[in-house]
Subunit: 199 residues, 2 copies
């Protein structure tokens, strides 16, 4: 079977999307062609504009089309709090918790085997940012993976001489679900991190 | 939380893709911005070209950028066989079986409740196509759903006076899997359609 060339090129191009394989790409391409051509043209325009217009925030280094992202340019946020995350998607996740301090976005995590040292992920820029600001607390919200933990430890050690509070987001059992399904490591963290209950 | 406007517009535009909700669209948008901007620009171009360039094959009515699709323009295919399907994606599925006859692509199936009668799905065009050709057999490969069956029956009745063989793809148990997982209706079809085994 051969799709005609333009359809084939569209199917191939759709496969750059994360989680989209050959079959999904075919379905996407044919569905757009049959049902929503104007939506597809709007998507093409949005893609072009975003890829050409979006850069990085000068201050927190998240993705932003302006020199300062909405979080950095908002004067009502708490200038004493800095939350360090691995990527722009994490900013979105932390925002949903109601956090209203500032952010710093690393370029991923330390990964010496892949040649990603402190410079590659933006640790010097983080140090500079902390030097400029008047932060009372730095919250390390890197991922709860081996690399994320190592990155958090590295930053905590680096910040130790500065005399500000450096905290790490808590590990424990997630809300919902059942205790017997939680892995041993997580449960051990939840036990060690237990807290007195108010009545 | 607010993404900057261009990113937000991109996320909204991605949601026209089938199976893509808010969260997947966010991941797609940020991943393209962070890792593959040139691929995203190629995708934008492929989208524009396909939406503006692809029409319908004059003969079988599948999606095609040329007046005749690859299947209709191939002189080596069997002109005595016509396979009737519900959409362009089905042409692709049937091609993979090794079928090398001709096709006719309906616009879906009959659905009186939605106001889709014979004219809406292209039955008159199918009749005209069969009148022009010299087909010995018409294979009805509409979906094995209630609407697909009804559509197949309608076409079979319409073609009855013409004296050509009209066949329907077989219903039965799919390959792989276990008999106890097959639904009763399918198994009943498989029993009724049993065939003598060669040794």
């Amino acid at each position: 079977m051969s799709f005609s060339p333009l359809i084939r090129q569209l199917i191939d191009a759709l496969r750059i999307l994360p989680g989209v394989g050959q079959k999904t790409a075919q379905r996407m391409a044919l569905q757009m062609l049959e049902r929503d051509r104007s939506g597809a043209l709007r998507l093409a325009q949005a893609l072009t504009r975003a890829m050409e217009g979006v850069g990085y925030c000068r201050c927190c280094r998240t993705l932003s089309e302006d020199e300062l992202c909405p979080q950095c340019s908002d004067p009502r946020r708490d200038d004493a709090l800095l939350c360090v995350v691995e990527g722009p998607m994490d900013v979105f996740a932390v925002e949903q918790t109601g956090y209203r301090g500032r952010y710093f976005v690393l370029k991923g995590h330390l990964s010496p085997l892949d040649g990603l040292g402190p410079e590659a992920i933006g640790i010097p820029e983080l140090e500079a940012r902390i030097g400029q600001g008047a932060f009372a607390e730095v919250i390390l919200a890197t991922n709860p993976t081996v690399e994320g933990e190592a990155t958090a430890h590295y930053i905590a050690q680096m910040l130790a001489p500065r005399g500000l509070t450096v905290s790490r987001i808590a590990h424990g059992v997630p809300l919902g679900g059942e205790l017997e399904l939680v892995d041993g490591g997580t449960l051990a963290h939840a036990m060690a991190g237990r807290r007195p209950m108010g009545c």
